[in-house]
Amino acid sequence: MFARLVYESFRRQKRRKLLAGAAITLGVTVATAMIGVATDIGDKMNRELRQIGANLVVTPQEDSLDVEIGGVNLKPPTDGAFLNEADLPKILGIFWHNNITAFAPMLPVNVAIEKDGSRKNVTLVGTYFAKRLSYGTDAITTGVKTTYPLWKIAGAWPVDDSQTVLIGERLAKQIGVKAGDQISVGGREEPVSGILATGGAEDDQILATLNLAQEILAKPGAVKRVYVSALTKPEDAFGRRDPKSMSGAIYDRWYCTPYPAAIALQLTEVIPHSRAEQIRQVAQNEGTVLTRIEGLIFLITLAALFASALAVSAAMATAIFERRAEVGLMKALGAGKVVVASIFFAEATLLALIGGLIGFGAGALLAHQIGRSIFNSQISIQPVLLPVILAIAVIVTFAGSAMAIRRAVRLDPVFALRGEL
């Protein structure tokens, strides 16, 4: 009898059920999409911020001081210690290797360049452009092309196995070189594949493959620094603590959180005789900007959840209020308050589940669209969210109906049937 009452109610009052169901569906759609965006916004914005440049740097442990003013290296390049290029793929083996988006080794050397008879001493930096490295089953294409996506090239990127070079914009203007020219670097003729504009020290330098720089320096396998771009969690009070002062379990928790300092520590563990530091200008500010954006979206999501809950409640209240006469009839026939209320609650649950399911699907689609149109990448909704969303939908629908059901149940059947009140 109970089941038939509920079933008939759905069959005969399609319009009302459709209205309430639509409100629930829309509410759940908005809630799902916003939760999806809010949980993913940190990762998305982190990737956008990574375009500003690397946030970690690995240097040799026993290195002498940098003597560098305005991007010009003033100490003999053979001075100090080096890292070994062969150790670089090991970066892919650290705990947080999935958070490493790219890295680029650097080896600055001083060279004399010659163009149309005029000589000039400049800094040549050997690096990877887009080199394929593999470690175990992991492979990555890495280099300055991915660590510094905002660099602009007039011409083409050099290929990593070639001898071609990039010339900094200001330097190119001074010596009158353009893409496709030949230039004498330390006595060898090298083709110029493009002109590089970065707005930084690189504008006065030459960028070449790591091999070329090692050959000029006559130190095969040498690397001076490695710039690493990693997705990190903004540093909080726990992240700022000194890991040396931590005990076992707490240390493990710190180690397994992608704080910049924890990733830096893991880098020094895989690269022998190295020290890794966060580049504070990038890493620290990135943390603040990320925290702000995440906080903002979180608060907006709260507002969205609140608005959807209110919309669902309003729709349910209206739907139930319209059915006073029905309640009056049931009560006149002898139904108790509990029976009447349970019928309404059963209907609300059914509506919430159906609306929740459809809304979840629509919300996932909406989040996907938002991700595609704003970030050019996927925002995927975890299926784990489904039961959570359904539970919230049922609770909100219940809460929204509760007041209206209470009022409906309390009605005197005589007044309700006469259409008064």
Partner: protein
């Protein structure tokens, strides 16, 4: 019936004749609101919440870029002035830069030379204004700022200084400290035959080139090396076109300097701001849509509920136009009142979010008010007109019989 009474009756009739219809309309609206307090209040509540949420969202959307821009200024300089071909900048360069960026940012001068430590190692020594750097480069992790501990140096500015006889406080890079003064004792630097006794007042850690340098106050630096600053770093705030305008002004004011934008920072900033704004816009659209729907369903329920009022008015001979006008006026009044209350509430919410999240209140934008007002009235009108147009087709008798 006596004369005076009929006179007063006529007077009353004449008065009513002259009285505008609006007073009746007003009374009907007020009575309707008072008699069905609960339903009217819940409709108004929905309207207020929707208007508040819409106001807060629009306010945030308008303000989010300005708020995030100030966060991005923590990345430091976005403009760099360098003397052409490594030459020093003119001595009044900093004053000119200050007059251009006054109120829109901060500038810090840097002079750099390669000096030698006592055992002959080369080291980069820089002279700068610590107070300015502190504001410009907030990511520097500094154990203690020299200028703040040593108030004497600022008091001594006018006097002739004897660099060799006095200890100059310095900010020493974390890596440089291990070389020049592992035990944190005063050390000697020499540049072109001139020596300088320096005491490490604090250390700086940045993870970049700064770690290998020693920073002196500009006065000490100039007195010792005779080299004037060749770089001024400027953090100019504002949208891209304002920053470009500042760059152009700087280039005109100081022809001896090359003015360069720090492209990485400026482009990264533009990128992140644009994406955040789009996300907030999408979210705001969703939230406002949901809120509007909430109003729509509440109000439609309310109007539908009053079909008996509607039927009685119709049975008493009210024309369709009058009924439409009545319900529309009622809806518009509700929308307007709800919008104004909601607007005030929404400004409060936006200010609170600004305080909690950005530690700076979101400035109320009164330009949002007409939009919220128009939107609210449109939604309420829609939710009144829809049920009315349905009810108009029904005979009053049917409604009054409760069917």
């Amino acid at each position: 019936m006596s004369g005076p009474v009929s006179d007063s009756g006529r007077e009353l009739a004449a008065k009513r004749e002259k009285a505008p219809h609006t007073s009746m309309l007003l009374r009907m609206m007020v009575r309707a609101a008072i008699l069905r307090r609960g339903r009217a209040a819940s409709a108004l509540f929905a309207m207020v919440v929707a208007a508040a949420v819409a106001t807060a969202m629009l306010n945030l959307y308008v303000d989010v870029q300005a708020k995030l821009r100030t966060e991005f200024r923590n990345y430091g300089a976005n403009i760099i002035l360098v003397g052409r071909d490594g030459a020093s900048l003119p001595s009044d360069a900093l004053a000119r830069v200050d007059s251009i960026v006054a109120g829109h940012g901060i500038a810090a001068p840097f002079g750099m030379v390669v000096a030698r430590t006592s055992d002959g190692q080369p080291i980069v020594v820089a002279g700068t204004d610590f107070e300015r750097v502190r504001q410009l480069d907030r990511w520097w992790k500094v154990s203690a700022w020299p200028s703040l501990d040593n108030t004497q140096s600022s008091q001594n500015q006018g006097e002739v200084r004897h660099p060799s006889s006095e200890l100059s406080p310095a900010l020493v890079g974390a890596r440089a400290l291990a070389v020049v003064s592992p035990t944190n004792r005063p050390f000697v630097l020499s540049f072109q035959g001139q020596t300088m006794k320096v005491t490490p007042a604090g250390t700086v850690e940045t993870g970049a080139a700064e770690d290998s340098r020693v920073y002196l106050s500009l006065n000490d630096f100039v007195a010792w090396t005779g080299v004037r600053p060749e770089t001024i770093e400027v953090a100019a705030s504002g949208p891209p076109d304002e920053v470009t305008a500042i760059m152009n002004q700087l280039a005109r004011a100081i022809p001896a300097a090359e003015v360069r934008p720090v492209r990485q920072i400026m482009e990264g900033e533009a990128l992140v701001l644009g994406k955040t704004r789009s996300t907030v816009l999408a979210a705001a659209a969703l939230v406002i849509l949901t809120a509007a729907l909430c109003v729509l369903s509440t109000l439609m329920g309310w109007v539908f509920d009053r079909r008996r009022d509607f039927a009685i008015m119709k049975a008493l001979g009210a024309s369709g136009r009058l009924l439409n006008g009545f319900f529309a006026a009622e809806a518009a009044a509700l929308g307007a009142i709800g919008a104004v209350i909601g607007f005030l509430l929404g400004i409060g919410i936006a200010a609170w979010i600004g305080r909690v999240n950005f530690h700076a209140p979101v400035v109320p934008r009164f330009s949002v008010l007409p939009v919220v007002l128009a939107g609210s009235i449109a939604v309420t009108l829609l939710s009144a007109i829809l049920p009315i147009s349905l009810l108009r087709r029904v005979q009053p008798a049917v409604i009054l019989r409760g069917e």
